[in-house]
């Protein structure tokens, strides 16, 4: 069976999204800076159906996450905004989302699965345990990625599902927003696996002690 991984970009002050998240600012004010390290990379281009892009340490790290990926779990805000919930609406991710497989979306609104390119969104109203279970089932030997946002990750950590956490620490202070580790305390014991990176980001990986 595969493992359950958390993998997310954060600011140096620990935010996974900036303040005042909205349809206009899905990542909060300033939040898009957290992901800038990934945009020039070859794996990022590949995930978006394009050629080219930079190789190197950052690209190796990004590629590693997506190579062994069997299914994704995400919160509703990462799928799309809450206002004007439209059953036909496809979320933030366009006609060919970069996940290339099954994505389990935590939501309070039940909805039929939604196919977009090679990605299928499954909407789970029964909570994190059911979402992880569904993802594990389809992932088989591959890994499940809890991709965000902060709340979905916190739920998966508190429920004891996570084997490994990778945070991509960017040299940015957001000063407000969604704290990745809000409500998670010393009960979660971590063991450092590695720290690598480039001038624009540091990739810290930890194993969760069980």
């Amino acid at each position: 069976m595969g493992a359950v991984h958390v993998d997310i970009s954060i600011s140096l002050d620990g935010f996974a999204a900036g303040p005042n998240q909205s349809a206009e600012h899905p990542l909060g004010e300033g939040g898009e800076q957290l992901h800038e390290w990934a945009y020039p990379l070859r794996t990022f281009e590949e995930m978006h159906g394009r050629d080219g892009g930079e190789t190197g340490t950052d690209d190796d790290v990004l590629a590693e996450t997506y190579e062994a990926l069997g299914a994704v779990v995400m919160g509703r805000k990462m799928f799309g905004p809450s206002g004007d919930w439209d059953p036909d609406w496809g979320g933030w991710w366009g006609e060919d989302p970069p996940f290339g497989g099954p994505v389990f979306v935590l939501t309070h609104h039940s909805r039929e699965p939604l196919e977009k390119g090679s990605t299928t969104f499954h909407f789970v109203t029964e909570g994190i345990d059911t979402a992880i279970e569904g993802a594990r089932d389809v992932a088989g030997e591959k890994n499940v990625l809890v991709a965000g946002g902060a709340s979905a990750i916190q739920q998966s950590l508190l429920a004891g599902h996570v084997d490994e956490i990778q945070v991509h620490v960017t040299p940015v202070l957001l000063g407000g927003g969604a704290r990745l580790f809000e409500g998670i305390g010393p009960e979660l014991e971590l063991e450092k696996v590695r720290a690598i990176g480039s001038p624009s980001v540091t990739h810290l990986k930890y194993r969760v002690s069980k």
Copy 2:
């Protein structure tokens, strides 16, 4: 003229001290874990007048901070507890504190300088600007270290004194306490200098853009 450095250990969730700081728990509950990486090191032993200790990357980083050190600035809580302020009392640091030079303590209580071994504590009641200025004057070509706690560091950052920040990120979650970057926002622009470390800690160094 030397530079002004911040150098402090933090938890992965961004705390420089744990919750409920007291005379019994000067670093807050669980806070002593933030510093465990340093205890076995040769430089730490040397600073405390002892022989032996481990060498390697972590020791090189610690040695680098203390080699070019001309003066230290710290908050009152880092010097000693607030209750029963006793003008004869020497603070947390014993008869031979590890600073080996002038230390400027931010406090609301004026007090004569206090000599302890090779360390002299100067008590500054006029605020962070005066403390940094006094430290810079005696440091000359050497560096000023703003050693903690979180509040002293925040004051020095907000007043624009800091040239470089080094955080030692430990694989610990404290879940509460003093957040290093509380109240510091996106106005503080950082440039990553390096990330190095060992299994027990990651040393992240950033330059403050001015």
